[in-house]
Symmetry: C2
Subunit: 413 residues, 2 copies
Amino acid sequence: MMISMAGFYEILSTMVPLYLAMLLAFASVKWWRMFSDEQCSGINKFVANFAAPLLSFKIIYSNDPYKMNHKLILADTMQKLLILFALMLWVKLTKRGSFDWMITLFSMSTLPNTVILGIPLLRAMYGEESEQILFQIVVLQFVVWYPFLLFLYELREAKGAVGRRVSTAVINGSTVVLEVEARSETRMSSLSLATVDGQGSTTAMNGSVVLVVEASAKENSLGYLNGEEGTANSKEREVQVEAAPPQMRMINLLILVWSKVIKNPNTYSSILGLVWGLISFRFNIRMPKIVDKSVTILSVTGLGLSMFSLGLFMASQPNLMPCGKRNATIAMFVRFSFSVVVMSMCSILLGLQGNLLKVAIVQAALPQGVITFVFAEEYKAHEDILSTAVCFGTLISLPITLAYYFLLSVFHA
Amino acid sequence: MMISMAGFYEILSTMVPLYLAMLLAFASVKWWRMFSDEQCSGINKFVANFAAPLLSFKIIYSNDPYKMNHKLILADTMQKLLILFALMLWVKLTKRGSFDWMITLFSMSTLPNTVILGIPLLRAMYGEESEQILFQIVVLQFVVWYPFLLFLYELREAKGAVGRRVSTAVINGSTVVLEVEARSETRMSSLSLATVDGQGSTTAMNGSVVLVVEASAKENSLGYLNGEEGTANSKEREVQVEAAPPQMRMINLLILVWSKVIKNPNTYSSILGLVWGLISFRFNIRMPKIVDKSVTILSVTGLGLSMFSLGLFMASQPNLMPCGKRNATIAMFVRFSFSVVVMSMCSILLGLQGNLLKVAIVQAALPQGVITFVFAEEYKAHEDILSTAVCFGTLISLPITLAYYFLLSVFHA
């Protein structure tokens, strides 16, 4: 069965605008020098905190959660667990396997850019119903899989801390030396330092830093350090080190993950959207028009601005393939091939059919989700590879995704 | 004839989201300190250069220019010319009248926020057809009246220059003294200094400054100064002063206005939109879907982001009424009453009727257009009053516009 020219034009006229928005941003920074780094970060902040979460919120609450397809959810979960299991085996049994690579490969094989690129592209390919399919995958992504990825990164930090000592922290320009017993290992796991530009000289700066100090295996202590400063000099400092029992270790890890997850507006918006969807479709209560429009006025900015923001990000990178050709090849293979093969297997195994099967497969071949790069950069773990997966991957994805689309339409004939 | 509750709710559910977007921006700066000044300016730049012009472009090319209503265009033009004439008389005949006040009052009585607040509000009040009506006013605004306002400001600069001497200019940190004959008056009218953050020390900085030197009345000279610098020190400087004949004076003024107008993306987008509209509706050629969607992906961000940007602007002002109560009262009177009375007179005189009449009147009662503040600030002319007209005016406008809406519906009964 051949694809009609009209169908092909429909897909192009959905994707070209998205890529043009990205190109415009890239050009405005690289060629026209319209935006400084700080100005770019203003736009990115708006996207990360308002536009993108409101877009997810809108998509999730607009779709009926009682029409969730259990087979799809199972297939999606099975794909991720299978890959995780395979990677864990690889780490255990081979010399080349490492925990760092396990996380990176897991991230690259399971977390595509579903909201921004996936929904418009698959709607153009398979019609309105594909939104209903994808929103389920989006909910799982934000509520389960991104938090899980954070958990893996935090676990890596905890593992990595053994054999390392970080006993100094720079707070508001002053170096603070944290005294730790020789046998214990120190790790700074969360640094949230509020930098507030004071408007007058009476204005106080508040910085609070939480240092998690982990003993090698025996004990666990949590150090809180609150720094309160005037314009230039430290006024008050307080260090509390609380000893915690060993079994608290995993709990502390989970608390850290949780504290990061709840800071992510995408998690809020997904959970809120799902809760409202459950109420709304159960009791047939529609979102009041005034609320719906209030969400929509900023959520409609999400699509164009997310692509614009992605273009700004590309312009900020030294090049589109900072990790080198070898790693780029691995990244592209994992993203566009391995991921799809596993998803196809799981979907067929669970009996997905028709458009549901096609959507499930093609969404697995989307370029890498931008959030995975944000995490990798935060934890300094293969951030060059994730940058390549996002930038280079997004650039080359269109023909690849189209190839899968054609392939599926031929097979289905 | 009473307004239905449904109609009233329709209006509220259009306006509340716009104001919420504005409030969100205000809160994110004033209360949550999410965005620095520089980050705000990044968002504002995106709005001024991409979102707002694309929104105007989309609105203008989507409406049939052959259905322009000549009576409406005449009424709109007559309102502006009448007000201009009255203000000129006031300047000539009274002691209190001044050229500065003339420009400010003209700006405040003729240039409302038509695209962002006008179109959604009036569509909620009078249905889809009001967009077709307003787009005509938008075209005139951007192609005729904003350039004319710029012309007035430039004329004011030229007048103000008599009796003043500005003979120094700071270029890339160095002060340049421009030698002028004692009898001539100097004015710096356009300063376009490219500040490019060099990425390496070999990188060159290019700054070019155009200084217009005007002789008192007899002669006119144009000074070009090109500064080219290394990282810190000036390498090369060149000053060319060309003498120009006296009759060139007005031409130079017009060139200055033109050079500013063509830098304004709203002018481009309006003219391009009108040209495409003329071709498209004449020959029945539709914009290719791929182009239309490319425009739309960013133009849809225009509404929400413009309001967001307005909220950022409000947060950046020392207070919402920086010009004091007396001037604020004048501003509100001119914007919400004088403007409307003159527009009503002109519209009735020219025989406008029905919804066309109502739309023409209510649009004159919209809050002040943001661009007028940008001009006032650029020329340092009553910028505090224009800031009040925009900020305070936008905040109080909703009940006022609604009052006119109710009044008109009662009269029409």
